[in-house]
Amino acid sequence: MNDGPLIVQSDKTILLEIGHPQATEARHAIAAFAELERAPEHMHSYRLTPLGLWNARAAGLDAEQVLDTLLRYSRFPVPHPLLIDIAEIMSRYGRLRLEKDPVHGLVMRTTDFPILEEVMHAKKIAPLLGPLIDAQTVVVHSSQRGELKALLLKAGWPAEDLAGYVDGTPHPITLTAGDADAVDSTGASLGAWSLRPYQAMAVENFWAGGSGVIVLPCGAGKTIVGAAAMAVSGTTTLILVTNTVSARQWKAELLRRTSLTEAEIGEYSGAAKEVRPVTIATYQVLTTRRGGLYPHLELLNDNDWGLIIYDEVHLLPAPIFRMSADLQARRRLGLTATLVREDGREGEVFSLIGPKRYDAPWKDIEAQGYIAPADCIEVRIDLPADERMTYAMADDSQKYRLCATSESKTDVVEKLAAQHAGEQLLVIGQYIDQLDEISERLHAPLIKGETSVKRRQQLFEEFRQGIIKTLVVSKVANFSIDLPEASVAIQVSGSFGSRQEEAQRLGRLMRPKEDGRTATFYTLVARDTVDADFAAKRQRFLAEQGYAYRIIDAP
């Protein structure tokens, strides 16, 4: 028995001892087929899932390589039933293949007729298939390519999509990387910048795979990965983002990092409806319904896009999934920091956007100095006696609101703000009343849903330039807002137990600081209430990524 860094458990988890000399080697080897589940300080745990194994098959790994890796690095004997299981699961991928046929168009082929027979008799799959050409081939309606892949995945026979992609309208795009004269939109020099190794690797993996998802921590430069993918593609591109502010930031970043000019980039949002070679559209405008129809949907179909980028793919709304099913012939790139869908639709991301092509643990990127280190602190607050009584007698549905918006939290925010006076400070919360009060007490502006886009942008800009030191934001600022110099965040309340929200909020602090400071993330939790339970749930993703929360009592 060797003395490897892995312990393979019979419940399909793999433990990796970080302190082991072979740990890095082993991690690279297993990252290809196992999903990182938890990454605390000494033992990381990975999970073997069918999706992870199929991802590996999609990346060209076979079962023998996977088994060999496990046996080579495992400290103890690997449970034999697990090995058999892995081989069996992996053998399911690609037994059905989607291919282009010169005569019949899109077809599904297999060398294993009973499987074809099985899926042809599945109630939901049968209507998507056309006539049988021979014993091994069946015609597929080309409009059903995505839907069919999603259903086949659910049936446990994930299809390998070899039908290729349309080229799209060519539109050369180059990166300004390495260009010492590169300037941003305001004319300020960017200096010579280059694609970071992990970004280059991510783009390479994506392009080799065709379509798929890239997972990188907040602040690790996902936009640049998007730009680099566009440069490789050299075609017209549609970028789907969560909101207008985010759309404008994409635009600004593209202008900085690529050869694209203002005239080549269009915004397709509530405010403007421009269709240009590179168009940035919001999910909201695409999913607007009028009279039972989606009037803006033609944007997707009427233009010959060579690449579609989905920003924050973990938030992709259900209608976009359905639309994406029709876009299977176009290259698709998903970007996210947290491939955790609270609705559990990771399977659909796999089949409709594509398999995961790149994933790096947050702590790894931090260790390389590309994102700022963060200190996470949970502040436990004792509710005053009267609030405890109100809480104890409250209706269950009101309980979270009561404890999350406790008066005493506002006091603690004040004290913490005083401790960090002079630093760029964000206060993030869920409940507007509470935020209004905090904004008043701290004399800081508040950004909430009703704040106009213009006002938002103005406040962000002032915050960026350091004119405003403290900013109070509601959940509108959860995603895609570039706040380069925020170094302290205080979370007073959140959306119940949402793991990805917590991660995205910490992400606001992770852009590297000029002076290399450590960011501080406070989360205020009312002791002995559901607030504490939700906090524990929210922290799971970050705890799994290796962010250990220190717990302190309220100052």
């Binding site: 393979v8 419940d11 605390p40 000494h42 046996l71 103890f76 004997p77 690997v78 250990a548």
Partner: protein, 777 residues
């Protein structure tokens, strides 16, 4: 000719080596000790003894024995040449060797006139011993009964040229015959075209047994087989193309299986200790408690059936007759080294007469731990399957397995088994998948290939098996890694004491070689309730962790300790309160404190589980006269004797593999220097000290009757029976024995002109009488 006296003489004439060989081949002959050679011979011919021995024969041995039974004349036996002719493809040399082996087994004897009295297989006549004929059934080698037994004459047909006769047969007759010739020789007359069958019946090829059944008589069958009883002699097993498994994969599979086995068994015992398993009214344990245990142990229900059965085989679980529940037994198994735990389970499995794979099958469904799982031949089948598995690696005494080990499939192993043990093959077919799955769980095989420890198990070399497993299992770890996400990870197998303590203060998570423990307020509360303090837990974790206690965990322990016990509940029988804390402290510090087990719950209040009268008595013994709360004088008026709960006696049981050695020690009076006598030598010494035979007495008398009856059946001789009548007196009857089946004799009574069945157990003597003389009872 009677074979029993022949066998007695043969056995008595054998030298010590030959006799020891017989006792090794058929150990049941000396259990209990046989008093003389006659008893030994009678046992050798008994149906039970023969059934066991025939089960041990391989295919060529059974083929030659069958040929001998068919060809041997009841009086004169058969020569080697005759038997060789009857076995197609066999050489004289092969048959001679096998006949010698059959003599070794005491299944056949020489005719004395043709030999010097020893079992030597030259050009001599051989006779199968009594009852072998019956044990092989009425259709040995697929041949039918003789014309005489079927009550028909065939002289004409047999005398004719069969080929010429068959040339004139109607269409379909030859095909019909071709189906019956290889056996079974019985046919059913259909409703369709009966022409061919009628023609064959008419010409004497077939004999009608009743209106709708026909039989191909033995003489005709043999003639059509050109005199061959056995048409295809198989001196060696058929060649198989067996897949191989790299030794790394095999060892990985076996060792992970062993680790899982021991872990699951320990967790099963813990689960059953918490919730004993109730038995159903019809016996066995129902599905629901098994399902609960399956969740506890994170093991599938089907596999848990095996674990439960294995635990009962190993004596780790026993049925408590008072409560009708299965509970863990205080065996000390858990405290053993892991290699010893493993061997304990393996030896228990080998020796068990239970067949766990039967659970869940049949109608009504066989429940786990019920009587229906019992199969007396289970141990024998298991041992033979393992022996056959051993043959792939050069025989039963194989010590190590080559790097690329052969991994036969169930079908391949089944085929090989059918050559080595043709008679039990059918019984083993159903049980074989179960055996192999169990061998895989036990680590005897890994990835279907025999492992080194498995080879030692087959060779019954326990010491080597223990050493191999001990060496291969990873050494226990004595430390854990504490992490900021409130978990402790044991990177390997933790000693039971350490894992027990961790399981008390943290919840176990996951399943596998490493232990994962998650701390929470609730789990720590469990520890506090069990009497651990914050300092105890911190000290324990610091001692066993290679890393410092992370801040969140330290905080959690502090926080949980502070919040634990804000409201407490407990049982107390007596309270004691004093005016000052110092006074109480003084009392508690003295002997009395330990005697009545006080617990201090406030500075001036302590409680005890003992009744007030006991405490009062103890206090007065040291001169303290306590005043009674509420003036409860009844405390002093009615002193009661305290019953303390009885603690279970700590005693360790011996593992099955140690039991044999322990028995031997007892037999030698515990003197370890004395080597216990081999029972075979004891038996031999006894036989040599007695006369070979006193006819008509003991076990041999019954055997003699049995033999005469089967001889009479074979020859159709008129026989006079003396039987025990219904009133206890003797009854005599002249009969013609027709068949001897399952301890009953079918006879025709010439005087009465009818047939009847007689239980053999009632027959006292059987004498052959000449055809001319007839006696009435």
């Amino acid at each position: 000719m009677s074979t029993l006296p022949l066998l007695i003489a043969d056995l008595a004439a054998r030298d010590d080596t030959a006799l020891l060989r017989l006792l090794t081949l058929r150990p049941e002959l000396m259990d209990p000790v046989a008093v003389d050679f006659a008893a030994l011979a009678a046992r050798a011919c008994s149906r039970a003894g023969l059934a066991r021995t025939l089960d041990r024969l391989n295919r060529p041995q059974l083929q030659v024995l069958t040929a001998l039974v068919v060809t041997a004349n009841p009086d004169y036996g058969a020569t080697v040449a005759e038997v060789t002719t009857a076995v197609s493809g066999a050489t004289h040399q092969q048959v001679t060797a096998i006949l010698a082996q059959l003599c070794d087994y005491a299944l056949a004897v020489n005719i004395p006139s043709a030999s010097s009295g020893t079992c030597d297989a030259g050009h001599r006549h051989f006779l199968p011993v009594t009852n072998v004929r019956e044990m092989l059934g009425s259709h040995p080698a697929g041949l039918g009964r003789s014309y005489r037994q079927l009550g028909a004459s065939a002289e004409t047909t047999l005398a004719d040229d069969l080929d010429a006769l068959l040339a004139d047969a109607p269409a379909g007759a030859a095909e019909l015959l071709a189906k019956l010739v290889p056996g079974p020789p019985l046919g059913v007359l259909g409703r369709g075209n009966r022409g061919p069958a009628d023609w064959l019946l008419d010409k004497g090829f077939l004999v009608a047994i009743d209106k709708s059944h026909v039989e191909l008589p033995r003489e005709m069958g043999l003639a059509l087989r050109h005199g061959h009883v056995i048409s295809h002699f198989e001196p060696v097993p058929a060649k198989q193309e067996i897949g191989t498994v790299p030794d790394s994969l095999r060892d990985n599979a076996a060792l992970s299986a062993i680790a899982t086995l021991l872990r699951t068994m320990a967790s099963l015992l813990e689960s059953v200790n918490r919730t004993p398993l109730p038995t159903l009214a019809a016996g066995g344990v129902g599905v629901r408690p098994v399902r609960n245990a399956s969740q506890d142990t994170d093991t599938g229900v089907a596999q848990l059936y095996f674990y439960l059965e294995l635990a009962s085989m190993a004596g780790l679980l026993t049925l408590d007759p008072d409560t009708s529940t299965w509970r863990p037994t205080a065996t000390g198994w858990l405290q053993r080294e892991r290699a010893e735990q493993w061997l304990w389970l393996v030896t228990a499995w080998l020796e068990s007469t239970r067949l766990p794979s039967l659970v869940g099958s049949g109608k009504p469904v066989v429940t786990v731990l019920s009587g229906a799982v019992l199969r007396p031949d289970a141990a024998m089948l298991r041992a033979t399957v393992l022996d056959v598995l051993g043959t792939y690696y050069g025989g039963a005494r194989v010590k190590t397995v080559p790097p690329h080990a052969l991994a036969p499939t169930i079908t391949e192993l089944g085929e090989r088994y059918a050559w080595h043990y043709p008679r039990p093959a059918r019984r083993v077919t159903a049980a074989l998948p179960g055996f192999l799955a169990e061998a895989e769980i036990l680590g005897i095989t890994g990835a279907s290939a025999l492992t080194d420890m498995g080879a030692s198990v087959i060779a019954r070399d326990w010491e080597n098996a223990l050493a191999l497993v001990d060496q291969a299992l990873p050494k226990p770890v004595e430390h854990v890694l504490l992490q900021g996400d409130l978990t402790a990870i044991a990177p390997g197998y933790l000693s039971p004491a350490l894992s027990g303590e961790l399981a008390l203060i943290a919840d176990t998570e996951g399943k596998g070689a490493a232990g994962i423990y998650r701390f929470s307020t609730a789990s720590l509360g469990r520890g506090f309730t069990a009497g651990r303090s914050e300092a105890d837990i911190t000290a324990f974790l610091s001692k066993h962790s290679t890393t410092p206690i992370p801040q969140p965990l330290g905080y959690l322990i502090k926080d949980a300790a502070a919040r634990h016990g804000r409201i407490m509940l407990g049982a107390a029988s007596t309270f004691i309160t004093t005016d000052t804390p110092a006074r109480l402290a003084e009392l508690l510090a003295g002997d009395i404190g330990a005697l009545v087990r006080f617990t201090l719950i406030a500075p001036t209040v302590a409680i005890s589980a003992l009744p007030p009268a006991e405490v009062d008595k103890a206090l007065r013994a040291i001169g303290v006269n306590a005043s009674l709360a509420n003036g409860d004088l009844a405390i002093r008026a009615n002193p009661t004797r305290v019953k303390r709960p009885r603690e279970p006696a700590e005693h360790a049981t011996l593992a099955p593999y140690e039991a044999a050695a322990a028995r031997a020690r007892i037999e030698t009076g515990g003197d370890l220097g004395v080597v216990p006598l081999d029972p075979r030598h004891e038996q031999l010494a006894l036989l040599r000290s007695r006369p070979a035979w006193s006819p008509g007495h003991g076990e041999s008398a019954t055997a003699l009757v049995q033999e005469r009856l089967s001889h009479a059946v074979a020859t159709g001789a008129l026989t006079q029976l003396t039987m025990a009548g219904s009133d206890g007196g003797e009854v005599r009857l002249v009969v013609r024995p027709l068949a001897l089946i399952e301890g009953r004799l079918r006879v025709s009574v010439p005087d009465a002109g009818h047939e009847q069945w007689i239980p053999v157990s009632r027959i006292i003597t059987a004498e052959k009488i000449p055809e001319a003389t007839k006696e009435t009872p």
